[in-house]
C-alpha cells in the first residue's frame, strides 16, 4: 500500500509537468490552430529564466585574499555577491537562496514577450499553411532556441536549487500510520504539484469568468462568427499565445530545482506532451489536464519493480501503449470535440 501511495504521488508530480505543458499546447492549438513543436523550448526557456535570475542575483565583485591561493598558486580572488554587500550577508544570502521563486516574477513578462515575438515574428506567417509546414517551422525554431541556449549556458546541467526552506522530504508514512520512511516525498515536488494546480485553476478561471476569456472561448468555437461581430479575435489569440508561453515558462521555472536545467530538457517533455494532448483530445483543455495526470500516474506505476519484472521495459512504452488503445477506442481522445483536426 505504501509503495502504491508513493508512486501515486510521483505520478501526480510528473503529471503536473505534463499537464502544464499540454495545457499551453492545447491553448495554442485551440486558438490559433497551430501545432507548436517549439512549446518544449518555451518550457526550457522558463527553466533558464530561473538559472538567469540565480546568476544575476549572484553577480559578485572580486577581492584578493592574500591568505588563500587559486589553483595556479596565485593569490585567490574571493567573490562576494553584490546583494550581500547591499543588504548584508544574511538578507543578501536569503535573496540568492530564494532565486527560483523570485524568478517567477521575472519569467512571466519575459515569457509573454517571447510568446508575442514568436507569434508575431514567425508563426503568424504559417496560419494558412498546412500543419506539416507548421510542425517543421516550429520544430526548427525549437532547435534554434536550444542551440542558442547551449551557446550561452553550455551543454551540462546547471544546478538551480530550491530555497533551503524546501529541502528535505515530508514523511507521509508517519501521517498515515505507516512505518517512518515508508512514504516520503520531497517538499519541493509537493510545492510543484500545488503550484501546477494553482496555475491550471487560474487559466481555467481566466477563460471561464472573464469577458476576455469568454471571447476567446467563442473564438475557439467559431472564429469566423466572432470576427463578423467586429471583435479583433487575432489580437486576443496573440495574447493567448503569450499566456500559453507563460504557462510553459512557469512550469519550467518551478521544475528547475527538480532536475538541473539543460538545453535539451524541452525536447524530453515535448513528445510526451503531444501524446498527452492527443490522448486528452485535440483542442480540449480539460482533456489535456486529465490526460496529463493520468499518463503521469500510469508512467509512474509502470516503473515499479514488480510491474517491470512481469513486463520488462513497460515503463518506456506505457504512455504510447495507452495512447494507441485510447485512440483506437475513442479516436478523438478522451475529451476531444467533433471537427477538430478532422477537416
Amino acid at each position: 500500500m505504501d509503495v502504491i501511495l508513493l508512486q501515486l504521488l510521483n505520478g501526480l508530480d510528473k503529471g503536473s509537468a505534463y499537464a502544464l505543458i499540454a495545457l499551453g499546447l492545447t491553448l495554442i492549438f485551440g486558438t490559433l490552430g497551430v501545432v507548436n513543436f517549439a512549446h518544449g523550448a518555451l518550457f526550457m526557456l522558463g527553466a533558464f529564466c530561473a538559472v538567469t535570475v540565480q546568476r544575476l542575483l549572484s553577480i559578485s565583485f572580486e577581492t584578493i585574499d592574500p591568505d588563500k591561493v587559486d589553483f595556479l598558486g596565485n593569490p585567490a580572488k574571493v567573490k562576494t555577491p553584490y546583494v550581500e554587500s547591499w543588504f548584508g550577508p544574511e538578507m543578501g544570502g536569503a535573496i540568492v537562496d530564494w532565486s527560483v521563486p523570485i524568478a517567477i516574477l521575472f519569467a512571466i513578462p519575459i515569457m509573454i514577450a517571447i510568446g508575442f515575438i514568436m507569434e508575431r515574428g514567425l508563426i503568424k506567417h504559417f496560419y494558412k499553411r498546412p500543419h506539416a509546414d507548421q510542425i517543421l517551422v516550429t520544430f526548427g525554431l525549437a532547435i534554434v532556441i536550444q542551440e542558442v541556449i547551449k551557446q550561452f549556458y553550455g551543454a551540462n546541467p546547471i544546478p538551480t536549487p530550491a530555497p533551503d526552506a524546501f529541502k528535505g522530504s515530508f514523511d507521509f508514512g508517519v501521517l498515515l500510520g505507516f512505518d517512518p520512511n515508508a512514504v516520503i516525498y520531497p517538499y519541493w515536488r509537493l510545492v510543484y504539484f500545488g503550484f501546477a494546480a494553482i496555475v491550471i485553476a487560474a487559466v481555467f478561471a481566466f477563460l471561464q469568468f472573464t469577458t476576455f476569456g469568454m471571447v476567446v472561448r467563442a473564438g475557439m468555437a467559431d472564429r469566423e462568427t466572432v470576427g463578423l461581430l467586429g471583435i479583433n479575435i487575432d489580437k486576443r489569440f496573440t495574447i493567448m499565445f503569450g499566456i500559453a508561453a507563460a504557462v510553459a515558462g512557469l512550469a519550467g521555472v518551478m521544475y528547475a530545482p527538480i532536475n538541473s536545467p539543460n538545453y535539451h530538457m524541452g525536447m524530453d517533455f515535448l513528445v510526451l506532451s503531444f501524446v498527452v494532448v492527443v490522448v486528452g483530445g485535440m483542442g480540449s483543455l480539460p482533456g489535456a489536464v486529465l490526460a496529463g495526470f493520468m499518463l503521469g500516474i500510469l508512467e509512474s506505476f509502470s516503473s515499479m519493480n514488480v510491474i517491470k519484472s512481469i513486463v520488462p521495459g513497460i515503463d518506456q512504452i506505457i504512455i504510447y501503449l495507452v495512447a494507441i488503445i485510447i485512440l483506437l477506442v475513442r479516436p478523438r481522445g478522451l475529451m476531444g470535440r467533433k471537427g477538430v483536426m478532422e477537416d
Binding site: D2, V3, L6, Q7, N10, D13, K14, K68, D70, F71, L72, A76, K150, G154, A155, N156, P157, I158, P159, P161, G168, S169, N181, A182, I184, Y185, P186, W188, R189, I258, N259, S260, N262, H264, M265, D268, E299, S300, S303, M304, N305, K308, D315, Q316
Partner: protein, 449 residues
Amino acid sequence: MSNSNFTRRGLLKTSAMAGGALAMPTIFSGAAWGAGYMNEPTGSTVTLGFNVPQSGPYADEGADELRAYELAVEHLNGGGDGGMMNTFSSKALKGNGILGKKVEFVTGDTQTKSDAARASAKSMIEKDGAVMITGGSSSGVAIAVQGLCQEAGVIFMAGLTHSNDTTGKDKKANGFRHFFNGYMSAAALAPVLEARYGTDRTAYHLTADYTWGWTQQESIQAATEAMGWQTANNVLTPLATTDFSAYVAPVLNSGADVLVLNHYGGNMVNSLTSAVQFGLREKQVNGKDFEIVVPLYSRLMARGAGENVKGIFGSTNWHWSLTDEGSKAFVKSFGEKYGFPPSQAAHTVYCQTMLYADAAERAGTFNPCGIAQALEGFKFDGLGNGETEYRAEDHQCFKDVLVVKGKDNPTSEFDLLEIVEITPRAQVEYAVDHAMFAGGDLGSCNPGA
C-alpha cells in the same frame, strides 16, 4: 662422393637466421615499417583527427578535450611552455612536431552518437588524411570508432571511455586506452567503502542501461559482495531518463542502506539530485546512516550536481589537485592558457596525444603497426598518474586510481572533489583473461593500405 655437411634444410635454416639477425636492428626503425600504410604523410605536416562531442549532452567535456588537444599540438610543435613534455619520462619528443613534421589537426563532432562518430571519423580518415583518430566521451562511441579505425587501418587513441568492454571483449589491435575502467573503479573504491561504511551493508543499484553501465555495475557489485555487502536490487534505467524519482522512490523500502548510482553525465546529475531531494542522505536504515556512492566521478558533472555531491565517494582517473610534477606542469599550461583547471577528460586526451607522438618518434614511423608495437608494453612516468604501463595483451593502461569524495567545504567553483586515496596500480590490476574482460580478440594490427 661429396662429404659436405651442407644440406638444403640446413642452408634454409641458416639463411633464415642470418636474415633475421640482419633485420633485427631495423625492427625499431622506420625502415621496418617502410611499406605503405593508410594516410602515410608525404609532405611537411602530419594530420591528427580529434573526434569529440561538440554537440549533444557531453559537449562541455568535448570542448575541454578539444582545448587539451590544441594544447598538446602547441606543445608538440614547440609552442607554449611544453607542459608535460618536460616531465614525461620518455625524451623522444623534441618540440619539432612528430618525426620532424609539423602537427596539424582536424576535428569531428561525435554528437555522442555511434553512427555520427563513425561518420566523422571516416571523413577525417578518408578526406582529411588523418593518420590517427582520438577522442570521445562515451564507451558506446569509443567502441564503435575503435572498430572503424581497426577496419580503416589507423590508430585509435581512446578518450574518456570507462566500460570494461573497450579493452575487454571489444578490444582491437589498433585501439589503445589510457583511461581507467569500471573494474579498476570498483577495485579502488571497495576497500575505502569497507573502511568507511563497514562490511554489513546492503546496496541498491541504479544502472544506466548500456555497455558502460552494465560493466560498471557488474564490477562494483562483485567488489562489494566480495567484502560482505549484499545486493538488494539492480534496476536498469534507460539512458534517456531525466526524472529518476520513480526509480529512487522505492529505494528506502527495499531494505538497502546504500544506493550505488552507476550513472554518468546528465544521468548522474539527475539521479543524484533526485536521491538527495528524497532525503535519502538524512535517513537511517538498518540502524545505519543511508549512503550514496557514485563509482565514476567527473568534475564537470560534479559541478552540475552542485552541493549534492558533498561527502559522496567515487573514483576518477586524474584530478587537477594532484601534486606530482607532471600534473602540476599540465595544470599550469592549461590554466594559464584557458583560465581554469583541466578536467580528467582533458588530461587523458592530452596524454593520449603525447603517447601517440612519442610512440611514432620511437618507432620512427607513422605506420600503425610500428606505433602499436612501440606502445605495447611501454612503461612511462611523468604524465600525472605515476608509473604507468600500456599492457601489450589488451592495450589498457595500468596505473594508480584516485578515490575521491565530494568536498564538504569547496574553496572555489573548481574545488569540488577531494582525493581520499591514491590506490596503487597493483590493487586494480587484473589478469588478461579475467571473466569481466573475456570474449574478445585483440587480433593483429591493420596498417590499412
